[in-house]
Amino acid sequence: MTMGCGLLFDQTLCLGCGACELACQKEHGQPPHKAVKLDADSFTFVGRVEGGYFQRHLCMHCEDPTCASVCPVSALRITKEGAVVYDASICLGCRYCVMACPFLIPKYEWNSPFPRVRKCDLCYEGRVSKGEEPACSSVCPNGATVFGERAELLRIAKGRIQREPEKYIDEVYGEYQAGGTSVMMILGKTTAASGLREGVLLDALPPLTGRMLRKIPVAVPVVGLMLAGFYFLTKRKNDIAKEEEEEKNG
């Protein structure tokens, strides 16, 4: 299997037909419907953008996924193909992934007694792990969503922007966002107008907590030994004070 695959979405090619939504719902056994937003039963949706454009929304499949790094039991993990997948059987339901995702992607089953985190899994189970492409790209009639190796997709994206700079915003959304994502987008309208999350850090986020966590194996013995040191020091001080007291009295 190819390493580091992903999807490239080209806003200027999207017809807004919604075939990707239906294919995605079928692949994941969800009732077919016109998605209006990302929710527990819609892993992708196509939104209208001013100027006759359409924008697909889906999990960006970060190369260093925040959700996977914050999960206390690694119920979320990244596969070698680059898909960020979820295992409900070990999930606690703490919803730190929902809280932390810089793209606001994971959705929760709020009305289930056995709730799961829901998001695009890049069709990992049924397709990508078997060397097939995801359902959405396989049905896209206009090549707006294409599947491939990330490096190759990035080259294609930059080529298109370079060839027609007047048509595209000069940025591949996902090249650097959150440290780089496997799903990338090129846009005819700004990220804000396209309804994408703006201001996402251009660095991977897990190191923000990682820096702190790495100190713990050092902090524990240091703090423990310091406390033990204070214990003996102050005890000795008290003992000496007491002896002096006794000497004075006796």
């Binding site: 690694s74 606690l92 929760y108 709020w110 850090l201 907590t209 406390l227 033990a228």
Partner: protein
């Protein structure tokens, strides 16, 4: 006679009916049935009040045991037991809240075996599990004493410094890590609260809160249970709280200044008002008052100021988890009336447990081991500590 009691009994029967109904809805129809949580606001009042504030409120356990057992500040010995008891009950209530709050509580044990050492919440989970165990061990001498189990009392007296060092280290990690939880959402937390120094702020404020809670507890429970503490204790706790609070507030001000966010504190918008309420009104003001020896001579005033500090730091935890997150993401959340009910029920359950423990265990009594009160006749006790 029986007829006269009927309405009263009906009211009494209704008290467990409400939590039973809420729990039924929660576990049959999901969190959405009893909460206003959404995908935009996945953490609500239960996390903010019962978990984040709850853990902070339990910090009296580690601050006071550290003062007495590690630093040998014997004057605080009479409040060790109530502080340890409060912390132990507090952590049990935190775990209870998590059972209600997390979506799949039957998996709550998994962090023990499914490691993700990149996750702050994994570390937090382990801290909860280990520190609750340590608190249980620190609490056991009260049971040994009640049972008259001399061997246990002696053995525990000998082990106490080990438990306390473990407990303080775990608390240091746990309190600061709750701040670290928010390090990963720089884009989602209002800049008045987001800071790379969040773990330090959470730890410093938890120390102040631990002292303040213990001081309030000593004052009010001495009135409720007819046990009197020497005013010297709350006097000293008042001074210590003031010093730690001022260090904490100075650190936060310095941090805001260094990152160019200090002006945001004075804009008179929603963010700045919540910030001012937390840091000035409920932080600096009581801390400044507690600095004055004349003010500290009146135990009632000290208790009032300490209660204000408690409110201020609880408001800080609520501000980080609720206010700053909403301001940073644009999410809107007002807790469901059932969320408020559950939060209060858990608080009441904790208070009831505390009351029961005080009734039946030597919490304020003179004991022989770790947390035993009067240490003035001390040589024998010090020997036990070695």
């Amino acid at each position: 006679m029986a007829r006269g009691r009927k309405p009263f009994l009906l009211v009494l029967a209704a008290i467990p009916a409400l939590p039973a109904y809420i729990l039924f809805m929660r576990f049959v129809h999901g969190l959405g049935a009893v909460t206003n949580l959404t995908d935009d606001m996945p953490w609500g009042l239960w996390k903010a009040f019962n978990v984040f504030s709850g853990v902070a409120l339990a910090s009296g356990g580690f601050t006071i045991t550290a003062a007495v057992v590690i630093f040998h500040l014997e004057k605080f010995r009479p409040v060790v037991r109530p502080a340890v008891l409060t912390a132990f009950i507090g952590y049990m209530m935190v775990i209870l809240s998590l059972v209600v709050d997390v979506g799949r509580p039957w998996n709550l044990w998994r962090p023990l075996f499914y490691w993700n050492e990149r996750s702050v919440l994994w570390e937090v989970g382990l801290c909860v599990i280990f520190y609750t165990t340590v608190l249980f061990l620190e609490f056991l001498p009260l049971v040994w004493e009640k049972l008259g189990f001399r061997g246990g009392i002696r053995f525990w007296g000998w082990l106490t410094p080990v438990f306390v060092i473990a407990g303080v280290t775990l608390s240091f990690l746990h309190q600061s890590s709750l701040g670290s939880v928010y390090l990963i959402v720089p884009g989602k937390l209002h800049p008045l609260w987001y800071s790379p120094a969040l773990p330090l702020f959470f730890f410093l404020s938890s120390v102040a809160l631990g002292l303040a809670v213990t001081s309030c507890g000593a004052h009010y429970s001495s009135r409720a249970f007819g046990k009197s503490f020497e005013p010297l204790i709350t006097e000293s706790l008042g001074r210590a709280t003031a010093v730690v609070m001022i260090i904490y507030l100075a650190a936060r001000t310095l941090d805001l200044g260094m990152r160019g966010n200090l002006d945001k504190a004075f804009r008179m918008d929603t963010a700045s008002l919540f910030f001012q309420a937390e840091t000035a009104l409920l932080g600096l003001l009581p801390a400044a008052l507690l600095l004055f020896p004349a003010f500290r001579r009146d135990p009632g005033r000290v208790a009032g100021a300490q209660a204000t500090v408690v409110l201020g730091i609880v408001l800080n935890r609520m501000n980080v988890t609720l206010t700053a997150f909403q301001l940073g993401t644009g999410a809107r959340y007002i807790p469901h009336v059932f969320e408020v009910a559950v939060s209060l029920i858990i608080l009441c359950a904790g208070s009831a447990l505390f009351y029961l423990a005080v009734k039946h265990l030597p919490v304020f009594g003179a004991g022989e081991s770790i947390s035993s009160p009067p240490a003035h006749k001390a040589p024998e006790k010090v020997r036990m500590g070695t």
